[in-house]
């Protein structure tokens, strides 16, 4: 009985690990691809590991295009991602508190509008938004990529609302009896408890903005302002033959910040995502 159990355990874990390997195979292929040259990538695709580790792909890719190096692209990406994420967190917690806890007139209406906005396909407002920003002379700046995030991202408002709803109401009520205003209830009681929710927002919104392609495609028009995700695309657009090694090297580097944040916050992330989406 015991050995039978052990065998089924081994088969189970081997299966999961095997499938997991298959899942991350494309990622590994990219990472190892950053050490290969075109011949190895195109002629010997079945080989995962490089025969020679060509570190020179990294400085070659980092040099970028037309005198603008990846230092600039990374700096742009970091600035945009940080500002957009900060905006999302600030607006998300404030609005979620109002919708989850404050019984104001019209709350149900605004909640419904928020849900409808969440379900609204972005394409419908993309063109007029672009035209508005164009009229204001903001195309080519980071404003269109960051400003809207300060006005609440419905997905995160909804997620944080569900999280706040899970906090015991007795906390608010006790504070209220002690004469706390709703402002201090928010800042002293609710906000400090929002940790997992805030972390989830930071991780997910950071990688959404970091990976965003359509925003930079529409709004950034000078190489000096490009983000990493947009700059990588230029490797593929090059008029001469694509240099795959440097392209994969930069692709790999572009994923490092996202991975780092994920590894640091992974534990909390699972709690935050699931708390938000299940109840309700």
């Amino acid at each position: 009985m015991k050995t039978k159990r052990l065998i089924s355990d081994i088969i189970y874990h081997a299966f999961i690990i095997g499938l997991g390997f298959l899942m991350i195979y494309p990622v590994l292929w990219m990472v190892f691809g950053s050490f290969k040259n075109n011949v190895e990538i195109l002629q010997h695709t079945e080989r995962l590991l490089p025969t020679v580790w060509r570190w020179e792909n990294f400085p070659k890719g980092w040099a970028g295009f037309g005198g603008t190096s990846f230092s600039v692209f990374f700096k742009n990406s970091i600035i945009i991602s940080l500002i957009a994420t900060a905006g999302t967190v600030v607006s998300g917690t404030l609005v979620a508190y109002a919708l989850a806890r404050v019984p104001f007139k019209g709350r149900q209406l605004w909640f419904n509008i928020m849900i409808l906005t969440m379900l609204l396909p972005g394409q419908v407002i993309m063109i007029p938004q672009y035209l508005i920003f164009r009229k204001m002379g903001l195309v080519g700046t980071i404003v269109p990529l960051t400003l809207t995030k300060f006005f609440g991202v419905p997905f995160f408002i909804y997620m944080t609302m569900q999280f706040i709803k899970g906090l015991p109401r007795e906390l608010d009520e006790a504070a209220m009896i002690d004469g706390c205003s709703r402002y201090s209830i928010f800042s002293r009681i609710i906000l400090p408890l929002l940790g997992p929710s805030v972390i989830t927002m930071i991780v997910i919104q950071f990688y959404w903005v970091w990976d965003d392609f359509m925003g930079p495609l529409l709004y950034l028009n000078r190489p000096k302002t490009y983000t990493v995700s947009y700059a990588i695309k230029l490797f593929a657009d090059a008029t001469s033959t694509t240099d795959y090694g440097p392209m994969f090297a930069m692709s790999t580097l572009s994923l490092v910040p996202v991975f780092t944040i994920f590894l640091i916050f992974n534990r909390y992330l699972m709690d935050g995502v699931t708390a938000g989406s299940v109840k309700g």
């Binding site: 508190y97 809207t148 006005f151 004469g179 709703r182 990588i232 992974n266 299940v278």
Partner: protein, 331 residues
């Protein structure tokens, strides 16, 4: 003792705060009259609610409602970005219905959604169920299976995908070595959508997490009772797991449908809509019309048709959900 009647507590709290305010008023009459009126206003639930919700409300008007109205207006005009819009009535909409490129674009998008979304959800649910058996390593496994979702939307991965499924890539080589000669994904209008669908299904991580959380909440009592009654694993899945998870399936289904209809980056980077428009999905079609051909009015009309179609599909799903979504509390 904890009282569970929030209204009473709030009433008590209100009288308490007013009473303290009254005391203060008596001590400091002239200034406090104004101050307490202000404080009553600022602490009024309506004021508090609108102050906290203000970012969203302002943003809704500025970045959603006004653009939507503008978009609708433009959809009724001829608008080449360089000149002012010229009223055209329903011309764009009439042109749409006759535009074979648009009809093809809708068709391939619907095909992508109908095949891609169920594939992704089934996969997410299977993996979520599979991982519930891993005790200590569950967190680690889940993190590994989440990695594709973490990076899958990026251009970096799109470029990898393009290479993996290209004629020189390992997957095509594998298929060819199995005897299918001259096989190709991106050169063949029938198969070009497959790498995109697979890439989308590959990013099943967030749906998986949501399913996993739902599975965790199912009481083991149900399964134990079913096992005593001799129900098979398949029977248990269909009569316990699926019904209890149905609200979560609904949530995932709606979210994935919408993002499926809007798929853009992969088609833009990997196939550029080709070959022969086989992956010319609606978002790409809108983008090209607006920003390549500068037909803003036409592009707005397409986006409104897309909105109507998504709204209709979502509505149908919600209406029929009464028949298949099961809420435990209704028991």
């Amino acid at each position: 003792m904890i009282c569970h009647c929030p209204d009473q507590i709030r009433a008590a709290a209100d009288t308490y705060t007013t009473r303290t305010k009254e005391n203060k008023d008596m001590q400091n009459e002239d200034r406090s009259e104004q101050r307490s009126r202000f404080s009553r206003f600022i602490n009024n639930d309506n004021t508090v609610g609108y102050i906290f919700a203000a970012p969203f409300i302002i943003g809704f008007f500025a970045f959603t409602l006004v653009p939507m109205i503008m978009s609708f207006y433009y959809s009724l005009t001829d608008y080449k970005i360089t000149a002012a819009p010229v009223w055209a009535g329903l011309k764009n909409y009439i042109a749409l219905v006759q535009d074979s490129h648009f009809l093809n674009s809708m068709l391939v998008t619907v095909q992508y959604v109908i095949i891609g979304v169920p594939l992704k959800l089934v996969f997410a649910l299977l993996i979520a169920m599979l991982l519930t058996h891993a005790k200590k390593l569950q967190g680690f496994y889940r993190a590994v299976y989440y990695i594709p979702s973490l990076i899958g939307g990026s251009v970096a991965v799109a470029l990898v995908w393009k290479q993996l499924f290209s004629s020189e890539g390992p997957i095509v080589k594998l298929i060819q070595s199995m005897g299918v000669e001259r096989f190709s994904f991106f050169g063949n209008a029938h198969f070009a959508f497959l790498p995109l669908v697979i890439g989308n299904a590959w990013q099943f991580g967030s749906s998986m997490l949501i399913f996993a959380a739902g599975l965790k909440q199912i009481s083991t009592d149900y399964y134990e009772a079913a096992m005593i009654d001799g129900a098979s694993a398949v029977k248990r899945f269909f009569s316990i797991t699926l019904p209890i998870l149905s609200p979560i399936i609904l949530f995932n289904l709606v979210m994935q449908l919408i993002s499926g209809f809007m798929t853009f980056t992969s088609a833009f980077v990997i196939t550029k809509g080709g070959p022969n428009e086989a992956t010319n999905y609606v978002s790409l079609f809108i983008y090209n019309n607006a920003f390549q051909y500068h037909r803003m009015g036409y592009a707005c009309a397409i986006s409104w048709v897309l909105l109507l179609i998504i709204a209709l599909v979502t509505l149908i799903i919600f209406k029929t959900s009464n028949n298949w979504v099961f809420y435990e509390s209704e028991q």
